[in-house]
């Protein structure tokens, strides 16, 4: 049994949200630079250059690269040999979010009630927390700051088994085409295939946080990721939606077993400001 104060989790969560908001990952930067070199649209090239400049200055000056510093989402994996002391896990995570957003010059963007009051909670809490208990004595935290320009363009559909690969492709492409310029392309497209209604969405969210250098380990899904990326980039939407050949930086698929009657597909769109950071305690 390993004892861990929840204050360690608070500290880690706060640091991760600051890092995620100030510093865009090298994997994203590399993709943006490659896109800038190959993008045939002059306006598209200008947009990519402006994004790269913006991200460089954000990192240099510790400023959030986008004013929508997002809804905070945390995937936390707790080893079952860890004994957490000193308070509740969820409150510790929320406290980390509170500290990052109130001291780090991040925008507070959470409405307390979705439909009636819509009053700002003032500290970006509550955080959306997904907890898993696993063997071992480590705690892994993935912090995602999810902007809603792209979140609003996400969709889920319960396909049927006969829809197959073609049905999945059609749906993903339709979601990206309908979104057009709204989610701030170029995008990271997270796709969850299988599971149940809610697991598909969760997998799609998880997919947006994977390194852009990685692909699905099953070569058939990898091929589907690559084909989708190619097809999305033929839709013409381009950087900022001004027209061009760079609409997706990467398509990530996460898959899971599903019911014999179903083929759930969730598409979680993430803008080029793909903000996430992770650590293991």
């Amino acid at each position: 049994m390993r004892e861990m104060q929840v204050s360690e989790i608070t500290k880690a969560v706060a640091a991760l949200f600051l890092q995620a908001n100030y510093v865009i990952g090298k994997d994203v930067t590399d993709k943006l630079m490659a896109a800038k070199a190959s993008e045939p649209s002059p306006l598209g090239g200008m947009v990519l250059e402006q994004i790269l400049d913006n991200n460089r200055i954000g990192a240099e000056e510790s400023l959030p690269v986008c004013q929508d510093t997002g809804m905070s989402v945390v995937f936390i994996t707790v080893g079952q040999e860890v004994h957490l002391t000193g308070g509740g896990l969820e409150e510790a995570v929320n406290e980390g979010v509170r500290q990052a957003y109130t001291t780090g010059y991040l925008r507070k963007s959470i409405a307390d009630d979705p439909l009636f009051d819509r009053k700002n909670t003032g500290d970006n809490t509550p955080c959306v927390i997904h907890t898993r208990l696993v063997p071992g004595d480590k705690v892994h935290i993935m912090a995602i700051a999810k902007g809603f320009g792209s979140e609003n363009m996400s969709q889920l559909k319960m396909l049927t088994p006969s829809d197959g690969v073609e049905g999945v492709k059609r749906f993903v492409l339709k979601v990206v085409e309908e979104a057009g310029p709204n989610p701030c392309p170029p995008l990271v497209v997270g796709v969850g295939i299988g599971g149940s209604f809610e697991l598909a969405a969760l997998m799609a969210k998880r997919a947006t946080s994977l390194p852009l250098t990685r692909s699905h380990r099953d070569p058939r899904y990898k091929q589907l990721e690559d084909e989708l990326e190619k097809d999305i980039n033929r839709l013409g939407i381009g950087p900022a939606g001004y027209g061009g050949q760079t609409t997706a930086l990467k398509v990530h698929i996460v898959s899971a077993p599903t019911h014999i009657a179903g083929l759930p597909v969730a598409v979680n769109i993430c803008c080029h400001v793909a903000r996430h950071a992770e650590t293991t305690l």
Binding site: I57, C66, R234
Partner: protein
């Protein structure tokens, strides 16, 4: 070529702006997003006076992040414009001439823009730090209780943008992608 554009917009300037033009905007803009728009339109519907004069003005759809000490504003990139569609027609009727945002405009707004000779500028979503450097001062002019969503007046110098819908009604989001589209669903 990059065009320098002075705000508030004049009819002469508006006539020279075409979709796809890269512009640097300078002068004075108002800010507003969903919550402020909702309040303005509620006042108009009740026949009450607005806290701001919209004639000739440009509204930037933005809710900045908090400013670090010594900065006029925090990062201040555009928010999605389609959400303001429900509220924009009465503002155009009150003389609004320009909008700055990102992404599609809604159908009600697009339909009325040629009639009112209004222009829509796209700022690049996610380039909030660069845009903030063009904002030299920020003052809350209405609804301070809305925090980042309050109506501010920004004085800007050379804020980079692209003409996305011009006063003739041409739309870059329709015409730009057509040039590069090689897959039809």
């Amino acid at each position: 070529m990059i065009k320098k554009v002075q705000l508030p917009l004049t009819e002469e300037t508006i006539a020279e702006l075409n979709i796809g033009d890269q512009v640097l905007l300078s002068g004075s803009v108002l800010t507003g997003r969903d919550a402020a728009h909702k309040r303005l339109v509620a006042l108009i519907e009740r026949g009450e006076e607005l806290p701001i004069d919209l004639a000739g003005q440009t509204i930037y759809y933005v809710g900045p992040a908090p400013a670090r000490p010594g900065h006029a504003v925090g990062p201040a990139g555009p928010t999605s414009s389609y959400r303001m569609d429900r509220y924009t027609p009465p503002l155009l009727e009150r003389g609004l001439k320009g909008m700055i945002g990102k992404g599609y405009l809604g159908p009600r707004t697009l339909e009325l823009m040629p009639k009112f000779r209004a222009v829509y500028f796209g700022a690049i979503g996610g380039s909030a730090v660069l845009i903030a450097k063009a904002i030299k001062s920020a003052k809350v002019v209405a609804y301070p209780d809305l925090g980042p969503e309050a109506i501010h007046r920004f004085e800007i110098v050379d804020l980079p943008a692209v003409v996305c819908v011009d006063a003739s009604g041409r739309n870059l989001y329709e015409e730009g992608p057509k040039l590069y589209k090689s897959l039809t669903l």
